[in-house]
């Protein structure tokens, strides 16, 4: 460990923050897109990640090469997201916010326990190729886990593609229109249902990409693994402003930085309370800037 405050310390922390932030950004984007088009805080977003990871594991056990496993994970997560929308969310479109949220809560519990039934509650190792687990030592004590590079590169590509999609393509514009005002969008001939489905597909695919990096970090898959990421994605969305893609990305990176720097700077006696501090920041932000750091105006409050 570098001395706190040295240049190397800061560079190291920046690298870690970028790596972790990229993962959070990828997770948060899906949550934000779904919220934007149907005002649903999709609690089951994390179970989509879990589902993708198990699909990846099954493919890996079939002996498929890793690129195919990765593609399978991403596509599997996307398919799961689409199924979820069709089966569980479409029938109650337009229900009160809390009913939607509770429904997603139930979907999450349902899928998690289906995974328990199918794969047992124990965690299983998910061996990753060396390309993702090796660590570079460019100079001095500095170390760069390659997973950070992959996560950063993957996030850059995926989020760049997403930015192009929502600003430069017709269907992307339709999605933003539907998010802005579903009724007006529908009157203009936009098929809101189709757009919603697409938002689920893209958001879940991003989650599938993120889970590859997440699993490379923790090394195992387990039915309850989607829980922590979805909470982190929530916090990222709240930090950046709920329901906007730039907000989710910025929030993801800010959350990554917050966690890494708290971890590095807190005295060891209280470092266990890091997550408590993170959620305290969440509550504080909800109060002082309910629209997030990018947002403007007030969220609904009494």
């Amino acid at each position: 460990m570098h001395a706190v405050g040295s240049l190397e310390f800061w560079i190291q922390q920046m690298i870690n923050a970028l790596g972790l932030g990229s993962q959070y950004a990828l997770m948060a984007v899906g949550l934000a897109m779904v919220f934007a088009v149907m005002r649903l805080i999709n609690f089951a977003h994390g179970t989509v990640m879990m589902g993708g990871a198990y699909i990846g594991l099954l493919l890996l056990q079939r002996g498929l090469p890793f690129p195919l496993v990765a593609a399978g994970t991403i596509l599997g997560a996307a398919a799961l997201g689409v199924l979820m929308e069709r089966i569980a969310y479409r029938p109650i479109r337009g229900a009160p916010d809390v009913a939607l949220f509770l429904n997603s809560f139930a979907v999450a519990v349902f899928l998690e326990n289906i995974a328990v039934l199918l794969f047992s509650p124990r965690s299983r190792p998910f061996p990753m190729p060396a390309l993702l687990t090796q660590v570079f030592h460019p100079w001095g004590d500095l170390f760069i886990p390659s997973i950070h590079l992959w996560a950063f590169g993957g996030a850059l590509l995926a989020l760049g593609g997403l930015a192009f999609f929502v600003t430069r393509t017709r269907i992307g514009l339709a999605m933003r229109a539907a998010a802005e005002n579903p009724t007006a969008a529908q009157l203009m001939g936009i098929e809101v249902g189709k757009v919603t489905l697409l938002a689920f597909a893209i958001g879940s695919a991003m989650a599938g990409l993120a889970v590859l990096f997440w699993v490379a970090h923790i090394g195992t898959v387990q039915p309850g693994m989607g829980f922590e990421p979805v909470l982190k994605a929530f916090v990222a969305c709240v930090i950046g402003g709920f329901g906007t893609i730039p907000g989710a990305v910025l929030g993801g990176y800010l959350l990554g930085a917050l966690e890494i720097f708290l971890q590095g700077l807190l005295p060891s006696a209280v470092v266990g309370y890091r997550d408590a501090l993170v959620y305290a920041v969440l509550i504080f932000l909800l109060l002082v800037r309910p629209g997030g750091v990018l947002g403007h105006g007030e969220a609904e409050r009494i």
Binding site: D97, N113, L117, G272, P290, E300
Partner: protein, 376 residues
């Protein structure tokens, strides 16, 4: 007082008679049930009854806040945890403290309180924390509160895991004296239901309901929304904390994992099934959901029907709860009772009505008009 004719007075006194008879019968039924379970010696039934009463407290308390105010709390199990750990630390015998919690600060290490004060302190501590976090959180609305209270639940868990001097961290907190009996649980549950009922039908309760149904209108007639919500939050947290204490002294050993999402999910489903805002609905919801989960839990180790057998089905009860909730949000969002209550008066009126219509259909309309209870 308006003047009433003789027949009117008679109808009222007859109704009063039925009402008291109904109450008496209901009371006797509950007492009989209590005696049968208490003296019957069926350990499984006793255990289930105590857990039912504790769950009932959790659900009624949650409903007292979430159902009455319309503000969704996902953090109530955090209050349960606070009550459980506080009361357990307070009642733990001094020798057990020296062995299990060697780093406990001085005043706590040398006391072992009796059950009731420990329960009360656990509840009060939960209410105090509710007051502190409620002041900022309750200004939010919609699902932002849900997310903020979720944050509280996670913070509580992190603190429980890290404050090892008080809680033993992730390790099991064991050796809590088994003080909780069926009588204790029944008394507290009855008190909880009674207070919730009185609250709902008091001026304060009407203010809370008004703030839920029409916040701007309520503010317009002088309801301090933040204040009434905070009071409901505090009362709710108090009883949730006491329920946690009862639970701790019933199971006698637990860890922070017990106070997390699956429990939160369970009591939310119970509340939704019964109906948000309905106290009698909470009773029905708790009973129904517990029966279903208990049934499914018994299937979890695997079932054999004749030659056909199914292996272990872990997670079946949770799947059952999830499916139940999904169907409810899709088809009957208000739950079984909505925010109405089951009332003896209404039952008697309806039965009287039914008997009249059935026996003397040609007289029914005139009797109805003479009946002050029936006027709309």
């Amino acid at each position: 007082m308006e003047k009433r004719s003789g027949s009117e007075m008679k109808a009222i006194s007859v109704r009063q008679g039925w009402l008291w008879l109904g109450r008496g019968l209901g009371g006797l039924l509950l007492l009989g049930l209590y005696l049968v379970i208490e003296r019957g010696g069926n350990a499984y039934l006793q255990r289930l009854s105590v857990l039912f009463l504790i769950n009932l407290m959790l659900v009624v308390s949650l409903n007292l806040f979430t159902g009455f105010t319309g503000v969704f709390s996902l953090g109530h199990i955090g209050f349960m945890a606070l009550g459980a750990y506080t009361s357990a630390i307070l009642t733990l015998p001094v020798t057990a403290k020296a062995a299990n919690l060697p780093d406990l600060p001085a005043p706590l290490a040398s006391v072992a309180l009796p059950f009731l004060p420990a329960l009360l302190l656990g509840g009060l501590f939960a209410a105090l924390v509710a007051g502190l976090i409620g002041i900022p959180i309750l200004r939010l609305s919609g699902h932002f509160v849900a997310v903020a209270t979720l944050g509280f639940l996670i913070i509580t868990r992190v603190v429980l895991i890290n404050a090892e001097a008080f809680t033993r961290g992730t390790r099991t907190f064991a050796g809590v004296p088994p003080y909780t009996t069926l009588s204790w649980a029944a008394l507290w549950a009855a008190l909880n239901v009674y207070i919730a009922w009185r609250l709902k039908h008091s001026t304060l309760g009407l203010q809370i309901l008004a703030a839920r149904d029409d916040p701007w209108g309520a503010q317009g007639v002088g309801v301090a929304i933040g204040r009434v919500r905070l009071i409901a939050f505090g009362i709710s947290a108090f009883f949730t904390g006491v329920a946690g204490g009862l639970w701790a002294h019933f199971l006698t050993a637990f860890s922070p994992n017990a106070f997390y999402f699956s429990k939160t999910f369970e009591i939310i489903v119970m509340m939704i099934v019964g109906g948000m805002g309905s106290i009698t609905g909470s009773i029905v919801g708790t009973l129904l959901v517990m029966s279903v989960t208990e049934l499914l839990r018994n299937l979890e180790p695997g079932v054999t029907v004749g030659t056909f057998s199914i292996g272990p089905l872990y997670g079946l009860s949770q799947i059952g709860l999830a499916v139940l909730l999904i169907f409810l949000t899709a088809f009957r969002r208000q739950g079984l009772l909505g925010d109405r209550e089951f009332r003896l008066e209404a039952l008697i009126e309806r039965t009287e009505d039914w008997i009249r219509e059935f026996r003397v259909p040609w007289k029914a309309s005139s009797v109805r008009e003479a009946d002050p209870f029936m006027r709309r």
